[in-house]
């Protein structure tokens, strides 16, 4: 199978890149629409079928291209491919004829950028794919063309360009320090360089814009509601993870202990998860709520990144857990977003089933046992036990995590509450329903067969948490439900007066 990789990876990146060419002939419009879900398939095959460790030399590409795959990137590639396939199916059903070809062009380009940056190892192509994804993403955000969409697009673009520039400066400084064009050499060079803090600051800020760090997240809640549903699903599911991947690949985790930066990230993570929850709850539109939920979830992941930065010993373990959590969040959040566009069928039984399938991924997000959320949360809890981490804020991690869990469930409940008001009843276009169902299935069922590993933190059988763990997962959810009921009652009283 070794020889197949280069062809497969070229196909994975090439197919979506060349797909927009179909837009030249208006006759191919129908074919373009149905080809949407097929685009990520080669990438999916690459992620699932082949085992990582291969390398593809492209000497003529930019400053000497090198594409490779390792354990971490494989997870991200898998997430991206899965999510884009599912969203693709959904999009076929969802799309109106208005500006269809333009949508497909930008869809293809963004997908190519997203896939490319997961496989790229040399700085040139990584940054190229990153920029391609960002600018093409703009096309998806402003697709509707309403005033609000173009405003959101403008904010997205301004912040994205600022982020890009920060990344460019950071990468430049790092590559100058490392005197090489490969990402793999950067962490070690950054650790040793005289301008370490400047580089780290730039990289964190640059990728932070994409990953939704607090104070850099403003475009997220604006962009998601206006973007078409499949686009916002992909936006929050896969594209945010690109920022995360940027951190994981460039920042010097294993080299030296960076207590300072670790602390900063933890504070940011905490702020992100709780602050986003507070804001999210007050939102009226379901997609806005979900946007804030993404920011809050990313806050949690940032916690783990901060921990990894602070304690370089535990870094490798934490990285794989971060990847696992990102995978779980991507899939769950994707299905939630797709559900926002679903309409309720006629029959009571079918209506109940639909509601059930909507709530379960949400609950899994909050850590419902037997779901990927539980596993992710447990793994996170185990990895962040303070006795193994020796740095200042280690003690605060577990309370923050519980607060995070509570916040997540609150947001999910708020989402469900707002959804009841917004969902209209009627027949779902077949492909739309299929896309949404596929997302739910993948998030709940297929998750267990994916090639993640929990480094032995959670004892097998992983999908059946131990008794004490069930309680650890359950009590934050109970608190959240209690708070929700309290809020419901308070709102009732206010309405009567």
């Amino acid at each position: 199978m070794m020889s197949a990789e280069p062809v497969l990876v070229l196909l994975a990146v090439g197919v979506p890149l060349l797909y927009p060419a179909m837009a030249l002939r208006s006759a191919w419009q129908r074919a373009m629409r149905f080809a949407l879900p097929l685009l990520p398939v080669p990438a999916l095959m690459l992620a699932v079928a082949t085992d990582p460790g291969w390398q593809l030399e492209l000497p003529w590409l930019l400053n000497g291209g090198l594409w490779a795959m390792d354990e971490l990137r494989r997870l991200f590639l898998l997430l991206t491919a899965l999510l884009w396939t599912v969203a693709g199916i959904y999009a076929v059903g969802y799309l109106a004829a208005h500006h269809l070809r333009r949508f497909c062009v930008f869809w293809g380009l963004t997908l190519a950028g997203n896939l490319g940056l997961t496989v790229a190892v040399d700085i040139g192509s990584f940054y190229s794919f990153f920029a391609l994804m960002t600018f093409a993403g703009y096309g998806l955000v402003v697709h509707e063309g309403t005033g609000e969409a173009s405003y959101a697009g403008r904010v997205y673009l301004v912040m994205a360009v600022l982020g890009e520039m920060a990344i460019l400066a950071g990468l430049l400084l790092a590559s100058a320090a490392a005197d090489s064009q490969l990402l793999t050499d950067l962490p070690q060079a950054i650790a040793g360089s005289s301008r370490r803090d400047l580089i780290i600051g730039l990289l964190i800020a640059g990728f932070g814009v994409k990953a939704g760090l607090p104070l850099l997240h403003f475009w997220l809640p604006l962009a998601h509601p206006v973007a078409p549903t499949p686009a916002s699903a992909v936006l929050s599911g896969a594209m945010i993870k690109a920022g995360l991947l940027g951190w994981l690949v460039t920042l010097p985790f294993g080299e030296t202990a960076l207590p300072g930066w670790g602390a900063v990230m933890i504070v940011a993570g905490a702020l992100g998860s709780i602050g986003a929850a507070v804001l999210g709850v007050c939102q009226r539109r379901p997609k806005a709520v979900l946007a804030y939920s993404s920011v809050s979830q990313m806050g949690l992941i940032v916690l783990m990144v901060g921990a990894a930065l602070a304690d370089h010993g535990r870094a490798p373990v934490l990285l794989s857990i971060i990847a696992l959590y990102a995978l779980h969040h991507g899939l769950a959040k994707g299905s939630l977003f797709l559900s926002a566009g679903v309409s309720l069928p006629a029959g009571a039984a079918r209506r109940a089933a639909v509601w059930l399938l909507i709530t379960v991924p949400g609950l899994s997000l909050a850590g419902l046992p037997f779901t990927s959320g539980a596993l992710a949360k447990l793994a996170m809890k185990e990895s962040l036990l303070e006795e193994q981490l020796e740095f200042a804020l280690a003690g605060y991690l577990s309370p923050l995590m519980t607060a995070g869990a509570v916040a997540t469930l609150l947001l999910v409940l708020r989402y469900l509450w707002t959804l009841t008001g917004n969902l209209e009843s009627g027949r779902n276009p077949p492909m739309l329903a299929a896309g949404w169902l596929a997302a739910v299935v993948v998030s709940l069922v297929a998750f267990w067969w994916m090639p993640w590993n929990v480094e032995g933190l959670v004892k097998p059988p992983v999908w059946l948490p131990a008794a004490y763990q069930v309680w650890a997962l359950a009590w934050p959810m109970l608190i959240a439900v209690a708070l929700a009921l309290l809020a419901l009652v308070a709102s009732r009283l206010v309405k009567q007066r």
């Binding site: 000497p59 003529w60 590409l61 930019l62 400053n63 000497g64 333009r102 040139g124 192509s125 940054y127 190229s128 920029a131 391609l132 600018f135 096309g139 402003v142 063309g145 173009s150 697009g153 403008r154 673009l157 360009v161 600022l162 890009e164 520039m165 460019l168 400066a169 430049l172 400084l173 590559s175 100058a176």
Partner: protein
Amino acid sequence: MTLTAWIPLFALMTSMIASVVIFALPEKGYRLRTGVNLGAALVKLALVVVMVWGVFRGVDYGLSFTMVPGVTFVLRADAFSLMFAGLSSVLWLLTTIYAVGYLEDSPNRSRFFGFFSLCVASTMGIALAGNLFTFFLFYEMLTLSTYPLVVHRGTEKALKAGRTYVIYTLTGGAVLLLAIAWLHGVAGDLPFREGGHFTDADPDIQGSLILIFILLVAGLGVKAAIFPLHGWLPQAMVAPAPVSALLHAVAVVKAGAFGIVRVVHDIYGVEASAALGLLAPLAWLAAFTILYASVRALWQRDLKRRLAFSTVSQVSYIILGISLFGPVAAVGGLVHLLHQGIMKITLFFCAGNYAETLGIHRIDEMDGAGRRMPGTSLAFTIGAFGMIGAPPLAGFITKWTMGSGALAANMDWVIAVLVASSLLNAAYFLPVLHRLWFREPAAGWPHERRWGRLETSAWLFWPPLLTAVMTVMVGVLASLPFSPLSWAELIVLREYSS
């Protein structure tokens, strides 16, 4: 006259002869004129390719004879000159095709194409010049042959722009002549030599060397549109699109930058100019021009004036590149000479298309042009993204190389300049793209013209697309042996090794 001496001269003479022939053609000799034009362009391109292959293998093309007692007329094709010659001959071919379509039924076309090929002959002369004297000879010929093109329309505005253009360039030429004469007086006839002449200049002439350098940069700065001397470029935008495309984005502006690079690299030598403390102020001036021009571009409402200011800022990249004392930065500067040419000519072609097909000149008239002219707008988008420096296009390669070069020369502030200017570029290009693709068109176009199947006439449609593809290929395939980046590395390698 051996063959190696014959080829550079003939490369120069092809367009000279073409211009004479075209002048003699009657106005309605349309087919013959286009034939002569394209034939000359192809022949020239072939000769340049032969020379490129020759120089790559180390063949030395040279020709010299004493023109005025004490000064020799030298033509020499070294690596750097072929880079510029290559650029101008390729882009001239495309612009000729474009110009044939653009000037469909306007008067005085024989006059136009005559001066057009004369101008390219002088550009080729500038590229192949072997010493400052020959360089100056073609430098002034360029001024003369571009004036009729700038005032081609004959309207009052065009003539006023022509007047400003002449005042600027001729004064610059006079200053340059003063400097060259003084240099000739101080150090005799200096051929361009890799590594320069003044590495160990004796102290007493150092004072005058500095003054001469300032005068040289001032004289060349007029055409390179460095800050205080850039006034003529935006005004010269009144010229027809092919003129502003080839001249003010590629030939004239690049001649100035090319001259400065020659002075720093081949006359003074990089070490000497650094020792004399000349590079730092030059770098500051170039940086200031980059930022100033980008800021000015923000407020321009007319599309071509905005592109003109963007050219002013982009050309200073080249100067910034070579004034950062380091091989990698120099590579960045030199490669930008080519990249900016390709990208900017795409933008000007598209601007010309919009003006010619839809009659729109101002930016706020461009709403929804993307739907009506998707091909041209796609090219415009690629060009714009290239200018912003978005990878994987040509602009990114320059910015990346220059950035790492600046860091190697530990000039950190250059990174800030590069980032700031990319932001400014984005600030004045992205709104245009937004209007192009995401805005609904206004009621009707000012005056629309139909050309059957294609969105605009074939002559106007293909060149911008071709240059857009070149922008992408030059960016993506940057490390190919004959790509601009590796050719720039070859130049700098020879420059810094001697």
